[in-house]
């Protein structure tokens, strides 16, 4: 059984002109110990669909669908119980660790708070657990780190600390939203290796949200590509990134600089810019920018079709057209 199963997830947020659909009919599942990558441009709904799982959406948001996690439907849990689950079995790491670390509290306090609250550990036991956690994410000299403050660490170390806090109650699923975006590549590589080790050693499932296809390509087992609030393609990493079937995936990959590309060969940019959720094009949201679009694309929203272990939402298959 999957660890996490999302079906028909729809998120609408209140805006100036009424409710706007940000996520529309998203479905996916995550297995234990798996890294599931979610990629898309800004505004594609990838972050909002994750915040919905944790009940962290802004006031007035309307969420529909089901989110099964460990036999429960998270969307139907009472607030208090959701907090219980979200604190223990689910954890989240954000782009900027300073938003989740308290600047005025020593790390010890921030690392023990969790385990004392959720696991009911005493002060001594909680401190031992905190030291273990810092060791696990490779913070040098964990004993003295417990008495240090977040500003005394570099960006990469802070992100490691945020991960340590997220791991405090041994969650089964870690949601990581752009965890390396603010970091240098050399430090990013360290965080990616850390996540990869954690999933192997602790059977931790990771839902990795990123705009960086390179990051996704290095650790994700399966990936899904978001566009205009919907998943347009999903499947095994190598299938989707090496043989994309949806024109948007194809275009997204073509826009990246290629190591073997000839000098002075321009990058292949996608025409136009991503649509605003408030003014989504009719039919397939990608059709105005799509090189393969046919007449029907503007009229019908293509459904996600399963084929050979992958799914894509496009009646025109760029692989076949080429």
């Amino acid at each position: 059984m999957s660890l996490l199963e999302v079906e028909g997830l729809r998120v609408r947020l209140p805006m100036a002109h009424g409710l706007v659909t940000i996520v529309d009919g998203v479905a996916y599942s995550v297995e234990p110990g798996e890294v599931f990558g979610v990629a898309g441009e800004s505004g594609s709904g990838k972050t909002m669909s994750m915040l919905a799982l944790l009940g962290l959406l802004p006031e007035g948001a309307v969420v529909e669908g089901t989110v099964r996690f460990g036999g429960r439907d998270l969307l139907r849990l009472p607030r208090k119980q959701l907090r219980e689950v979200a604190g223990r079995e689910l954890a989240m790491v954000f782009q900027d660790p300073m938003t989740s670390l308290h600047p005025m509290l020593p790390l010890g306090r921030q690392l023990t708070e969790h385990v004392r609250l959720h696991l009911g550990l005493g002060r001594k036991a909680a401190e031992r657990r905190a030291t273990e956690l810092l060791e696990e994410v490779r913070i040098p000299d964990p004993q003295s780190a417990l008495h240090a403050y977040p500003h005394q660490f570099s960006g990469g170390m802070r992100q490691r600390i945020a991960i340590a806090i997220a791991l405090a109650c041994r969650p089964r699923l870690l949601i990581a939203d752009e965890p390396t975006t603010a970091l240098d590549v050399t430090v990013q590589a360290g965080i990616l290796r850390l996540l990869d080790r954690l999933r192997h050693e602790n059977d931790l499932a990771v839902l990795l949200i990123t705009h960086d296809v390179g990051v996704m390509s290095s650790i994700a087992d399966r990936v899904s590509i978001f566009y205009g609030g919907r998943i347009v393609e999903s499947g095994k990493r190598e299938d989707v990134l090496q043989r994309p079937r949806h024109p948007y995936t194809r275009a997204l990959l073509d826009a990246l600089p290629h190591p073997e590309a000839a000098r002075d060969q321009p990058l292949v940019a996608i025409a136009g810019s991503p649509p605003s959720p408030a003014a989504l094009p009719s039919g397939c949201a990608f059709h105005p920018r799509c090189a393969y679009a046919v007449e029907t694309c503007a009229q019908e929203v293509p459904s996600l079709v399963a084929m050979n272990g992958r799914r894509f939402a496009c009646p025109v298959d760029p692989l076949r057209v080429r």
Partner: protein, 334 residues
């Protein structure tokens, strides 16, 4: 022809309780006419400070900055010398450099007033600038918030172009943009450079983009230049262990599951740089000499330069690991 030349530039900041901190500790760089030079390095390596010194936004503590052969005088209360107008800068976040309350056309025209006094002439030129950077003609009548991040960065570039520059220094112009907007902007920069014979100094932490657009790359570590060379050879055979580590850390978006290499350790505090070679505490090949003497940047075959004891002046470039293995018995590589 060299249009921008930085010689042994030192940038210092006053830091409370720590005295002076050297963000740039003697760095040199040249940009030729029509050339795109990429400047890469981890955050805190001094690349932004060097960029600011290059355009006169801060005064170097030592060293010289020459633009078209003339000294770049740091910006003060008095008017900037007329010649320096052709040296322009574009910043990372266009939203903080554009005035949110003024129309794009008016902001572009600001850069023209010094050059063109006729109102009609300015209007024509504003339209040309918009077209040059691929903005719709109607853009002039709109405000910054009506544009996407990528379009705003185009506006910032158009504003720099208004001064008819020969050099533009761009500090992380592509950061915080989506892949497609990045591609559009990278293409624009290459096109402008080729069509207008414009020189660009492109500061970026995104190595993949730099590799794609730059003719030449300078690699900076903790305030000094560790390697300079033509882009492609530098990527294929990085000569400094730091350049090697930077390139190995870049993820590959090819779906093959390549796990990037992490560089152990942290960038040291520029206020207390390590002895000898500044990279030696993190270098896998460091030997005794590296801890004691700082290697100078020396010229090697193929128009390349590196500051590493493994690359002796005038020698043929060699892979750092290979050279270290050859030298191992003699110098005691650990």
């Amino acid at each position: 022809m060299t249009v921008l030349e930085l010689n042994d530039v030192v940038v210092e900041y006053d830091s409370k309780g720590r005295g002076k901190v050297r963000a740039v500790a003697g760095a040199s760089l040249t940009v030729e006419r029509g050339q795109i030079v990429g400047l890469v390095g981890e955050s805190g390596c001094g690349k932004s400070s060097l960029a600011r010194a290059a355009v006169g936004l801060l005064k170097p503590a030592a060293g010289t900055v020459l633009f078209e052969g003339k000294d770049v005088t740091p910006l003060r209360r008095t008017a900037r010398p007329r010649e320096l107008v052709r040296l322009q800068m574009v910043f990372q976040n266009p939203y903080s450099s554009l005035n949110p309350r003024r129309k794009i056309g008016a902001q572009l025209a600001d850069g023209l007033t010094a050059l063109d006094h006729s109102r009609r002439g300015r209007l024509v030129r504003v339209a040309e600038l918009c077209e040059l950077v691929g903005l719709p003609g109607a853009a002039a009548g709109r405000y910054p918030h009506e544009f996407s991040g990528g379009q705003r960065q185009r506006i910032a570039i158009a504003r720099a172009l208004a001064a008819d520059p020969s050099v533009i220094v761009l500090d992380e112009p592509l950061a915080s943009l989506d892949a497609s907007a990045q591609a559009q902007l990278a293409n624009l920069l290459v096109g402008l450079s080729r069509d207008l014979q414009l020189s660009l100094l492109l500061i970026s932490h995104d190595l993949a983009i730099v590799r794609h657009v730059a003719d030449e790359v300078s690699v900076m570590y903790l305030g000094t230049m560790v390697e300079i060379g033509p882009t492609r050879p530098l990527w294929e055979l990085p000569l400094h262990p730091y350049s090697e580590a930077l390139i190995a850390a870049v993820p590959h978006p090819d779906g093959r599951g390549f796990m990037p290499e992490a560089l152990p350790g942290e960038v040291p505090d520029p206020g207390r740089p390590p002895s000898g070679c500044r990279f030696h505490p993190r270098c896998p090949y460091a030997f005794a000499r590296c801890r004691e003497e700082e290697p100078p940047l020396v010229a090697l075959d193929g128009g390349r330069e590196a500051a590493c004891w493994l690359q002796p002046a005038g020698a043929a470039p060699a892979e750092p690991g290979e050279r270290a293995a050859q030298l191992a018995p003699a110098v005691g590589v650990e």
